[in-house]
Each structure stands twice: as C-alpha cells, then as structure tokens.
Symmetry: C2
Subunit: 192 residues, 2 copies
C-alpha cells in the first residue's frame, strides 16, 4: 500500500536491524485518516471471504481493526492479554510468548463472542515472529471458528512470521513488507 509505505519512509524510524518505530502515526499517536484508508483496503481485499467478525489483540491493532470492521460492517473482537491463566469455563485462553519483548501472556477470548459459525479476519499492526497471530489462530480454532485471513500493517519480511502463518494454511495480507532495516534505513520488498 503506497500511502503506508510513504508514511513509513517519512515518519518511521529504523533504530537498528530489528526495530522500526512508527509511534507518530500507529502506536502512540494515531493518524485517523490513514486508519480509515487501511480499513477500506483490508475490507476491499477480504470482502468476498464471508468474514463474520474482525479480531485484534490489544492495543496497537485496535484502530486499524476497528476501521476494517466498520468497512465490512461486522463486529470487532479485542483479544485480551491477561498476565496469567484464569480458571473460568467461559473463557478460551492460550499462552503467547513474545520474543521481541521477552514476556508471556495469556491471550483471552470469552466464549460468548465466538461460535463455530464465525469466520474471523485477524488484523494486527506488526508481523515479526508470528507468535501473536499464531496464538490468535489457536484461540479461534479452540472455539471451532475458522480464520478468513490475517491482515498486517507492517510485515518484517526478514523474520519468520509470514511463513509460520502460511504453513498453517492462513492467507497473510500485509500492506507494507520490509525487506531490511538498518539504523536510519528502511527497505521494502518490491511488489513488481
């Protein structure tokens, strides 16, 4: 998505080979017009897939996921990060370990908001190692729901997340795919 790539080039900051800061328009300050455009783009791409719900993981994925849900006219589900497992028959939970942050949390979903009739589009801001996405898929499979695909704003294509998700038979649609980061330098995968 041209407009997102341009925004990343003008406002994103590559702090090293792994870290891209986009907190002026995605993570901390949010550009609402860009989020609308992103939501429309995801909705256009997945419009014939029979999506019944959009889901995301709190909290940076919420703005683009909400705009996608609005464009597709379906509810949004915000998967919660709990610090530890809760014994509760009304919840689905699965442990997710973030390599990037070195933390583990329980991804949590109330049973009442998902059923085997649901076909869920998962939206997230970043795809790196794919732990969060894999955890979300595991959670929806526990509920016997199906996954329509994963929409990502920024994919670090030099990390294994995309492959890991595709190996599970999931379509990954990333709006900006980063081939390489260096301090002060950002390189995209050419779409041609």
């Amino acid at each position: 998505m041209k407009i997102l790539e341009e925004k990343i080039l003008s406002e994103g900051r590559a702090l090293g080979e792994d870290i891209l800061k986009v907190d002026s328009f995605i993570n901390h300050q949010v550009d609402p017009v860009l989020m609308q455009q992103i939501g429309e783009e995801f909705a256009a791409h997945f419009k014939d897939k029979g999506v019944t719900k959009v889901a995301t993981i709190e909290s940076s994925g919420i703005p683009p996921a909400l705009m996608t849900a609005i464009s597709l006219n379906v509810p949004l589900i915000i998967l919660k990060k709990q610090p530890s497992k809760v014994l509760n028959d009304n919840l689905y939970q699965t442990a997710v370990t973030s390599f990037t942050k070195g933390t583990t949390y329980e991804l949590t979903l109330s049973r009442q908001f998902v059923s085997e009739e649901d076909h869920v589009l998962i939206i997230d801001d970043f795809l790196a190692n794919g732990e969060a996405g894999t955890g979300a898929i595991r959670l929806f499979r526990k509920a016997h729901a199906t996954v329509a695909g994963i929409g990502i704003l920024i994919e670090k294509s030099f990390q294994p997340g995309r492959e890991k998700l595709m190996e599970q038979g999931i379509e990954v649609y990333s709006l900006a795919r980063i081939a390489k980061l260096e301090k002060g330098h950002i390189e995209f995968i050419s779409e041609d």
Copy 2:
C-alpha cells in the same frame, strides 16, 4: 444519549452495586456502528472548543476515541500504561492508582506528541472514581497543554469521579449517567 442507554439496558449486565459489564459492545466485543454514533456525538458537542487532539488511555477507550478523532479530523493520542517509571527525558509520566482494580501504573506520554499549543479532548469508556481522568489531565498539564473537556461513555454517577474532575475546572460530558446499580438492575439519571 438514548441509543447508548438502550444498549446498556438490553446488553449490559449489572453484577452488583458497583460492576456493570458491557463487554458485548464496548470492552471485549465492540459494536462499530455504535462507536461511529458515539464519535459523532462527542464531535458535535465539542466542535466549537478548538480541540487539536483527542486522547485516551489504552485500551477500552480506543474505539470511541478514534471515532471522535475521525469526526473532529484531528490526531488521536493513546496514553500508555507502563508497569513502572521509566527514566527517559522524552516522556511525561504520572502514577495512577485504580481503586477498582487495586493496581498502580505509570501513565505515559511522549513529549513529541504534545505541546503547549494543544487543546486536548480526553475520551474514556468509564468514569467511576476519576483516577484515570485526573492522571491524564495531570499529564497534559505537565506538557503545558490545555484540556478541552472529558467525554465519557458511561458515568457511575454514584461515585465521585465527575465531581473530582469538575473541581479541576474540567467539563465532563457523559453519554450515559448511572444513578444506581443493583444485581440485575440499572437505573439512569433522568435528563429531564
């Protein structure tokens, strides 16, 4: 706001005198159409106040705050909850203790996203004791920004949050004001 009150009556669950669960349309599953209507309502109410940015605290306030930012055509700032104080000259931080949850966190804002020119509208889902709202105001005052007002989806009017905020000279605009909760019973303050 009639439509929000009706939704609270039909889908909200009063679990006792203090707890109202609205996780089918605000906190866990999100109703995007309702969020659009809420954003338009806040924007209409504050449209002549010279709002330069909308702010909220992660994560339940993000959907209504984003829709308000879209309607007002200004950026959104998501204030972060950090577990502990970070020594960093680029951040404003202030400790917030949640009576409801019995936890303390450092509300965090990067200096680069706020200036003394900013007039900020704060949006949040619930107002109870007013700790989060007071913390957000403190943070923007540290930055010498001004606060245009606070927009709340659901105010527990039997708790002291509204008074605490108004004592600081802040306008509080709540879309639904709850006079009383009992297990299975929800009573609004009549607007007449």
